[in-house]
């Protein structure tokens, strides 16, 4: 199986930031060590062209990203502090998804060891998502004639609001050719959920049995309805019980069963499958435990999807014909630091009115 990965997927964040940035490199190292992927099957993407990003995102937003002129609210909504390295990284991950979709169409299955940033909207980023790789890549492949119809199967615990928003016009299926399915925690972020083609909201605490009982009839049904040229699978691992943001209660075995079922069903339908990470914010950290451990735990959960795909598809898919490129130089320092100041007036503190 060929996958997209670049060491530049990891960029520095402020200390103790909630996003486990190191999970990308940890996942790569883990999959190589386990032999799930081979070094020659790793294709390193360059940054996506601005012109491709414009198929989904607005000129204003891309300009603000390029020049570092996001407002404080925009930055906060994104959940990640702006840096030039972050923008480069996000563009690289988009190209990684474009490449992964292309490789999936060629090989039957492929993945990006990042991507699935489904909360990103045309005009702003949110929920740790800067650019919507799913939407951009699908529009690029549609425009170039690689595919007509696609099914986005979004099993991240959070509803795919950005993707749903972008392909909202496709609700009158098959108008725009992208059928979006989101199975998510009903009470979880995002608060406002623009409709996907199919939305399934699950109650807090949903466990393995109820989850799989929902998915089993749903997937064959939407596959038949969408009749896609490609399935894009966002296999978010934030459905597991001890995820920091999840609210659902799948076990590791339940997660493996879910990913196994998706791979087998899509393979049996004869449709190429593209694997994307999306969310995962592993277990709580015990006092004194290093953040790295948390990223490794998250990576181990993300590895489930690739292990299952390797088992279902075998080792034949995706012989090497592209070579990895070397990594870029060191990334820029994070812009925001921590400031604690207990002094000053009681209310308000930040900027008193003029």
């Amino acid at each position: 199986m060929r996958v997209s990965y670049h060491p530049g997927y990891v960029v520095p964040l402020p200390p103790r930031h909630a996003f486990p940035m190191a999970k990308f490199s940890a996942l790569h190292d883990l999959l190589i060590a386990e032999g799930v992927i081979r070094p020659e099957g790793v294709v390193a993407p360059r940054e996506a062209d601005w012109g491709d990003l414009l198929l989904v995102h607005t000129t204003r937003y891309l300009d603000a990203l390029a020049t570092g002129t996001l407002t404080r609210q925009e930055e906060r909504r994104m959940g990640l502090p702006w840096s030039e390295a972050l923008v480069t990284r996000s563009r690289r991950a988009v190209q990684g998804t474009i490449n992964a979709m292309t490789m999936a169409l060629l090989d039957g299955v492929a993945g990006n060891l990042a991507g699935g940033t489904h909360h990103a909207m045309p005009d702003h980023g949110e929920g740790f998502c800067v650019l919507n790789d799913v939407a951009v890549a699908l529009r690029v492949l549609q425009r170039s004639g690689w595919l007509r119809r696609a099914l986005v199967l979004d099993l991240d615990v959070h509803q795919g609001n950005g993707t749903a928003h972008v392909f909202g016009g496709d609700r009158a299926w098959p108008a725009g050719g992208v059928y979006t399915v989101s199975v998510h925690g009903a009470n979880n972020y995002p608060f406002r959920k623009p409709p996907s083609t199919r939305d399934v909201g699950l109650p807090d605490g949903t466990g393995d049995d109820a989850y799989l009982a929902t998915l089993s009839p749903l997937l064959p049904e939407v596959l038949a309805e969408a009749d896609p040229d490609l399935v894009v699978y966002l296999g978010g691992v934030d459905v597991v019980a001890d995820d920091r943001f999840g609210r659902l209660a799948l076990t590791r075995a339940g997660l493996a069963a879910r990913d196994r079922f998706v791979c087998e069903t899509v393979r049996d339908a004869g449709v190429p499958l593209c694997l994307l990470l999306s969310g995962g914010y592993a277990a709580r950290r015990a006092p004194g435990q290093a953040p790295k451990t948390l990223a490794r735990q998250t990576a181990d959960l993300h590895a489930t999807m690739y292990r299952q795909a390797a088992a279902v598809y075998g080792d034949d898919s995706g012989r090497t014909n592209l070579t990895p490129t070397p990594s870029t130089g060191p990334a820029a320092e994070p812009r925001l630091g921590m400031a604690m100041d207990g002094s000053g007036p009681a209310f308000p503190l930040r900027r008193p009115p003029a």
């Binding site: 996003f19 959940g79 972020y189 920091r244 604690m340 009681a346 209310f347 308000p348 900027r351």
Partner: protein, 190 residues
């Protein structure tokens, strides 16, 4: 809700001649209180503001704040959408993770300048303090404070004018205009 919380309190202390306040008991109908670490993470991931509610176990007004304000439906609904709330025992000796620092509740309360309870401190996702709201407030005023901080109205408007605008249903511009500039006569049609 208030009554049932007090009843629970009374039942929990059957032997005490005079029921003592224990503000560390959280009413049943409470918001989803988070740990500090989860609150910071949630705020970062879901674009929320960390609300640190500083209390002390013996503090009578804290028990009232819990019973009156945090059980209010409108307050809870607004909190759920916009805030990641944390209870901070400002005399607590247990250590907690606040960004890079491993501190006790007492230390963090001190660093945040909480000198009395109850006190609500608004913390941004990078760890900077946005503002503080010391003392007891009624649910309506507290809701306005939550909105005031979330909407960043402090950039333009004093808190009392913000409240006045909300109460009268005027826009901030209208409320400010009434106070800042006298109504102007209509200019000639152009």
């Amino acid at each position: 809700m208030i009554r049932s919380a007090l009843l629970a309190l009374a039942l929990a202390l059957p032997l005490a001649g005079q029921a003592q306040v224990d503000a560390s008991i959280v009413p049943e109908d409470a918001p989803d209180w988070l740990t500090m670490e989860d609150a910071i993470a949630t705020a970062q991931g879901e674009d929320k503001i960390v609300l640190v509610y500083g209390y002390a176990a013996w503090c009578g007004y804290c028990a009232r704040f819990d019973a009156d304000v945090f059980t209010d439906d409108a307050v809870q609904a607004y909190l759920a959408e916009n805030y990641a709330p944390v209870r901070l025992d400002i005399e607590g000796a247990d250590s907690l993770q606040f960004f890079d620092a491993r501190v006790t509740g007492r230390e963090l309360g001190g660093a945040m300048g909480i000198s009395g309870t109850p006190s609500n401190v608004f913390v941004d996702t990078d760890g900077s303090l946005i503002t503080k709201l010391p003392g007891y407030t009624d649910p309506e005023t507290f809701l306005y404070a939550l909105q005031y901080v979330r909407e960043e109205a402090y950039e333009t408007t004093p808190f009392d004018q913000f409240i006045a605008a909300r109460r009268t249903g005027l826009s901030l511009e209208q409320a400010m205009g009434d106070l800042v500039a006298p109504p102007r006569e209509e200019t000639e049609a152009q």
